[in-house]
Amino acid sequence: MRLEARKLTAGYGGDFCITDADVVIEERRVTGIIGPNGAGKSTLLRALARVIKPQRGVVLLDGEVLHQLPGRLVAKKLAFLGQPLEGVPDLTIEELAYRGRFPHQTMLRRDAAADREAVDWAIGAMNLESMRGRPLKQLSHGEMRRAWTALALAQQPDILLLDEPTAFLDMAHQFELLDLLSKLTDHGVTVVVSMHDLWLTAIYCQRVIAMSGGRIVAAGPTDEVLTVELIREVFGVEVALQPHPSVAGRHIALPVSRRREAAPAEPVPNPATRPSPH
């Protein structure tokens, strides 16, 4: 299942949040969308997910114009998860996952065996078997995220689009969720996530789309995109790239300072007088 955007311009009301975006999502990979706040990451995801309509350009799903396809049909191939609701529905994890079967059911026809199989797989893939009967209201942030992801997986999508899935999670739960998402590619699922954290992006994403000011600045394999120059341009920070100690062929970016406007080869100040590194 191939997802791409051509000359995509989209936004809310009259404002364009993204302009002329050309995107090709590589299949069976984890693609990370990075960029500072307001870069248009969420808008790009929503346009790719058929949640908002493009003002210009098209999104193509296997060569067909996404926004002209029926919603139910798209929902069987492509699942999107935005930021969670403020209120928590009075449901158990399993009941929530069953609602992901909606696009596969009609008023009169449903395949109970297929529904159960898909829900079981989704709950298993999110490592929630032991708590499938637990109400959502009793879950931690990390469990809640996985429960909603199970809903999306119960759709049995080929492509899973997630808007900042690791937001508000503590570090262990970020790793846990990204581990589970990475494993989905073994099942043939294409994963697209918007990410805030460059370290996690470097470790978990095979491909990266870098955005700034509503435009796509760079896209490609992670190590080719995440360069010192690109991070300076997109995030306005100086980083030093270091080989990842345990993931071969990956580099992680250590923040050094804000972008220096003058010449780069500035002497490092005395550590004792340096402000705390953030």
Binding site: G71, G82, L91, T92, E94, E95, R99, P103, Q105, W148
Partner: protein, 341 residues
């Protein structure tokens, strides 16, 4: 017995079982059945169950048949339909707006009916009682359409729907009051109508009203799957392939149809649409497939008892049904709110 062999639903909610089924569905159904029997048996002449049955089958005294068949049965059936309509209307509106305070009165779906009825009485002081229902029905639907159009801005958001509903309700209620205080004739008729009641209603009204109520209740059942998806939030619903705006429009239209049908025969019956979905949710949970039919049963039960009370408490004078439901509903709602917190 192995755990794996047990049906999934039992794992999902440990409390699910026969006892729960009996509590959630058996108790309300039993209360409704009792209400219907009491509603037919009690009145100025109290009838023993045997006489009720004889009256229904027209094999006892002719007077019993008149009381049971012509006076009480249609009124009880109307109370059932009015209650079910208001309960389901409230359940749909609370789902669509994701707001626990939504109900057909608060959202202005019935204020148009009140305005239309009082205007009719103002213009024609001898406005025929039989025509009141269609006029109120049309007024309700127009009011509901106004609410929906005012909240439209490339789509209807739950918050805008709730706010424009409250605005339209206040405006139309003010217009109703204006019409009443500036009229020369006695406002008794209009006031009685506005306070709600089934006094003098019979087969004629039932024959006009039941198709709308039944159609609305059926349509509400068809909406339940979509409402469950809508409850997950607009974005989630959209990415599950639900036509969000279409579902919302359909749900508001069905809620307006039901509220209009109820208002047309019973006037303004307060609190049923607000209270009943909360009780139903307490018993059944958020799943609309259970919530909607349970709201119908509980709403019907409440209104039949309330109408019985309205007839019986101050004989021979009837007190307005809307006052009874408010007196029962307000404290009960407060209790629900406080027990949740």
């Amino acid at each position: 017995m192995t755990l794996a062999a047990a049906p999934r639903q039992q794992q999902a909610r440990p409390s699910f079982g026969t006892a729960r089924l009996l509590l959630v569905w058996g108790l309300p159904l039993a209360l409704l059945a009792l209400a219907i029997v009491l509603g037919i048996a009690l009145g100025p002449v109290n009838l023993a169950p045997a006489r009720v049955i004889d009256g229904l089958l027209n094999r006892g005294e002719p007077l019993d048949h008149t009381i049971v068949w012509d006076l009480r049965l249609p009124r009880v059936l109307l109370a059932v339909l009015v209650g079910a309509s208001l309960g389901v209307s409230g359940a749909l509106l609370q789902g669509v707006t994701r707001n626990p305070l939504a109900d057909p009165h608060v959202l202005g779906l019935t204020a148009g009916g009140g305005f239309a009825a009082s205007l009719a009485l103002r213009l024609y002081s001898d406005f025929p009682h039989e025509l009141m229902a269609p006029v109120a029905f049309a007024g309700s639907l127009l009011g509901a359409a106004l609410v929906y159009l005012l909240s439209w801005r490339g789509g209807v958001s739950p918050v805008r729907l709730a706010l424009s509903g409250v605005a339209v309700a206040s405006l139309l209620t003010a217009c109703t009051t204006m019409v009443l205080v500036t009229s020369n004739f006695t406002t008794q008729a209009a006031l009685a109508w506005l306070a709600g009641g089934l006094f003098g209603r019979g087969w004629v009204d039932l024959r006009v009203m039941w198709p709308y109520a039944v159609a609305g209740l059926g349509a509400a059942m068809l909406l339940t799957r979509g409402m469950n998806i809508l409850a997950l939030g607009d974005e989630a619903a959209q990415s599950l392939g639900l036509g969000v705006e279409r579902t919302r429009l359909f749900a508001v239209a069905v809620a307006a149809l039901l509220a209009g049908a109820a208002v047309s025969v019973a006037g303004m019956v307060a609190f049923v649409g607000l209270l009943i979905p909360h009780v139903a949710r307490g018993l059944n949970g958020d799943d609309h497939r259970g919530l909607v039919p349970l709201s119908a049963i509980l709403g019907a039960t409440l209104v039949v008892y309330a109408d019985l009370f309205a007839r019986m408490v101050q004989r021979p004078v009837e007190i307005p049904l809307g006052i009874v439901t408010a007196v029962i509903g307000a404290p009960f709602l407060l209790y629900l709110v406080r027990s949740k917190a």
